[in-house]
């Protein structure tokens, strides 16, 4: 709360940057961050689908490697939740997580048990529950012991091909929309476009940073941490494939890259932002706990809590330093909903 009062004071005291430099910032974010990352996702997802066509055995090293590469690409854009990712709920279909009630396992195991023909048809698969689609569903099919032993092996194999083809189609559609008109709309705000002013476009990017950090701290780390009395290691993201901490590192790198672009032109803000992300990255690197299993023992838990605090510290920096630079007021009621 003290910080909020400070944020208001800072905003009133310091002028935000000009429309011209906001336009440069948005252009740099699109060219150096958004477009290359969505292109990579589309390419890697297509590669994953191709590999699955050749070899859909869940234990296949080539398939698991392609899964890892494409999933990395998704995590690298998972903070960019606006425009093309939200059209037709594409991002929800690519990434149904957290799954607090186990809908992904239930949906997939029932498809397998019934040998439901929809699991054999990539085009029709867009109509199944989003819990059975995307990267988190694929992880369950490739790494969960129950899934690996369930039903008919040939059906499971075909289902992997279907899910990967659906992922590729979604990634390709997002990339196409960004290249088609969305990037141009964002670059050149107009009365009839998605963004009317440079300020609105810059605020969208700022929101991507702040909500991305919130998800990172509260969900990617907060879920396994649970409470001290009841830590929840199996609520960690993608623990089955051993990627939980890896996702935190990838997401920090991606959000940090965007934050750095938004901070450009203000050496002081740029320095504190860079410093905050570097500290958090150093803590992930030191952790040596790929699935946050340490949440259950005091010393392991302490290290993960310290990591979470370092992310909370970045959130404060972003709100108090980066926001005012971009002309974003962080009001008490405006900040975080009801």
């Amino acid at each position: 709360m003290k910080r909020l009062f400070c944020a208001i004071a800072i905003f009133l005291g310091a002028g935000a940057v000009s429309a011209q430099s906001l336009s440069d910032v948005t252009g740099a974010a699109i060219d150096a961050h958004i477009l290359p990352r969505f292109e990579r996702l589309a390419t890697d997802a297509q590669q994953l689908a191709n590999v699955a066509q050749d070899n859909c055995d869940a234990a296949s090293p080539a398939l698991r490697a392609a899964y890892g590469t494409a999933f990395d690409a998704w995590v690298g854009v998972s903070h960019l939740r606006f425009g093309p990712t939200e059209h037709d709920d594409r991002a929800f279909a690519l990434a149904f997580w957290p799954d607090s009630r186990g809908v992904t396992p239930r949906s997939l195991l029932s498809l397998i048990a019934d040998e439901d023909p929809i699991g054999l048809d990539a085009d029709a698969y867009a109509d199944v529950s989003i819990a059975a689609r995307g990267f988190y569903a694929l992880e369950f099919l490739l790494y969960d012991d129950a899934a690996l032993a369930a039903g008919d092996a040939a059906y499971r194999c075909a289902l992997v091909q279907t899910v990967t083809a659906d992922i590729a189609a979604l990634a390709s559609a997002i990339d196409a929309d960004w290249r088609g008109t969305y990037a141009a709309d964002m670059r050149a705000p107009s009365q009839t476009g998605h963004y009317r002013t440079q300020e609105e476009a810059a605020q969208e990017l700022f929101k991507a940073v702040s909500t991305g950090l919130e998800f990172l701290g509260d969900t990617r780390l907060g879920r396994p941490l649970g409470t001290f009395d009841r830590p929840r290691p199996t609520r960690a993201e993608v623990w089955r494939s051993g990627r939980s901490a890896h996702h935190v590192a990838l997401s920090l790198a991606a959000i940090g890259e965007l934050a750095q672009i938004l901070a450009a032109g203000d050496a002081q803000v740029s320095d504190v932002v860079a410093d905050g992300f570097a500290r958090a990255q150093a803590r992930v690197a030191q952790l040596d706990d790929p699935v946050f299993a340490g949440v259950t023992d005091p010393s392991g838990r302490f290290a993960i809590e310290v990591l979470k605090q370092s992310i909370d510290a970045i959130r404060a920096t972003v709100r108090n330093d980066l926001g005012p630079k971009l002309g974003v007021v962080a009001g008490f009621n405006a900040l975080d909903g009801d």
Binding site: M1, L4, R223, F332
Partner: protein, 357 residues
């Protein structure tokens, strides 16, 4: 010198006092939760001249409150997904009791009393099932849990009593959350909000928006003359066509729409909604957009848009409205003009609740 409040508190302690009324609480006209600069949280009573007539500590961030229809008691609810509600004796300025959500439930931040004041209804989440529940609390038995029933949807937020009846209307926002992932929204792609009318523990009517509006989360309510005004929060991409509406039981929803520019100014977010005393106007706040809009009920058209930075709370006052903001200010809206008062050293939180309405 003994203050009036201390004197009353002493009387209450000896059991000699007559039944206290709202006048004994310094006659607050509104109650509202707030955050203090030291990071602590309080519930405040707001009296004549916008004076803060009492300020009572809360264990964590509050949201809205429910004022008892006759006795000077208010219940301050934790912000979602909190599990406490604090019952406050506004005459003595003391905490009377604490309500704790049962295991497997959390509060959503709102509640409403029955017409006789004997029961308190609270919006709650059965988070393992992902279903909205209405908790029923026995006021005479010291705010103990008496039971619960279905809210008629997912994510119930505000609940209001319909006039002097015991029909309640609840805004089922449609958004599924689970405390294991904080406030993360779990079902935006499939959310289906509705407005539900409840009587005697049963859902007697529900009304939903058109399917293309299924991402418009119905969250805030006010009631006047059998008519419900509701405010929404848009979870889709871009700007919604409408963020507020009117409804009467048995009839279709009437949208309170405005031009694309005005809709855009709200940034897809309604923080609070209130009818004017005469029921002829409806005000909606958007702290996110930094504006408050006033609609004419007779024509369903926008009358005024007022710049109101970080204003969350709104309630009827005089011929217009009182609003509260995150900078510790209260303000009066009359004929499309906002007159802001002095800053108190606190941040008003989201809602301002009329007392003894």
């Amino acid at each position: 010198m003994t203050s009036r409040r201390q004197f009353l508190a002493g009387l209450l302690a000896t059991g000699l006092a007559p039944t206290p009324t709202w006048a004994d609480a310094g006659s607050p006209q509104f109650v509202a939760a707030a955050a203090l600069p030291d990071g602590s949280y309080v519930l405040c009573g707001i009296g004549a001249g916008d004076a803060i007539v009492f300020q009572i500590p809360l264990p964590a961030r509050g949201h809205a409150a429910a004022a008892h229809p006759t006795r000077p008691e208010a219940v301050a609810f934790a912000r979602r997904p909190g599990t406490f509600a604090t019952v406050i004796d506004c005459a003595s300025g003391l905490q009377k009791s604490t309500m704790t959500a049962p295991r497997g439930r959390h509060f959503y931040g709102h509640g409403a009393f029955s017409a006789d004041g004997d029961w308190l209804l609270t919006t709650e989440n059965d988070f393992e099932a992902g279903q909205g529940r209405i908790g029923v609390w026995d006021v005479r038995a010291g705010y103990t849990r008496a039971g619960e029933f279905a809210s008629g949807g997912i994510g119930p937020h505000e609940i209001k009593r319909m006039g002097d009846s015991d029909i309640f209307v609840v805004a089922n926002g449609g958004i599924d959350t689970h405390p294991d992932s904080g406030r993360t929204k779990l079902n935006i792609a499939t959310m289906a909000p509705n407005l539900a009318y409840l009587h005697d523990g049963l859902v007697v009517e529900t009304v939903a928006l058109a399917p293309d509006m299924h991402k418009n989360s119905i969250r805030h309510l006010d009631v006047a003359d059998g008519q419900v005004a509701f405010g929404m929060q848009w979870q889709g991409d871009g700007d919604p066509a409408v963020l507020a509406g009117l409804h009467r039981q048995g009839q279709p929803i009437v949208p309170l729409a405005a031009s694309a520019d005005h809709m855009r100014a709200m940034r897809g977010y309604v923080g609070s909604i209130a009818f004017s005393r005469a029921g002829d106007q409806v005000a909606v706040t958007s702290p996110v957009g930094g504006v408050t809009q006033v609609f004419d009920v007779a024509t369903n058209a926008l009358s005024h848009q007022i710049v109101a930075v970080d204003a969350g709370g709104v309630a009827a006052r005089g011929a217009g409205f009182i609003i509260s903001n995150g900078q510790g200010q209260l303000g009066q809206i009359a004929q499309g003009q906002l007159q802001l008062g002095a800053r108190a050293p606190l941040a008003w939180d989201n809602h301002i609740v009329p007392v003894g309405a």
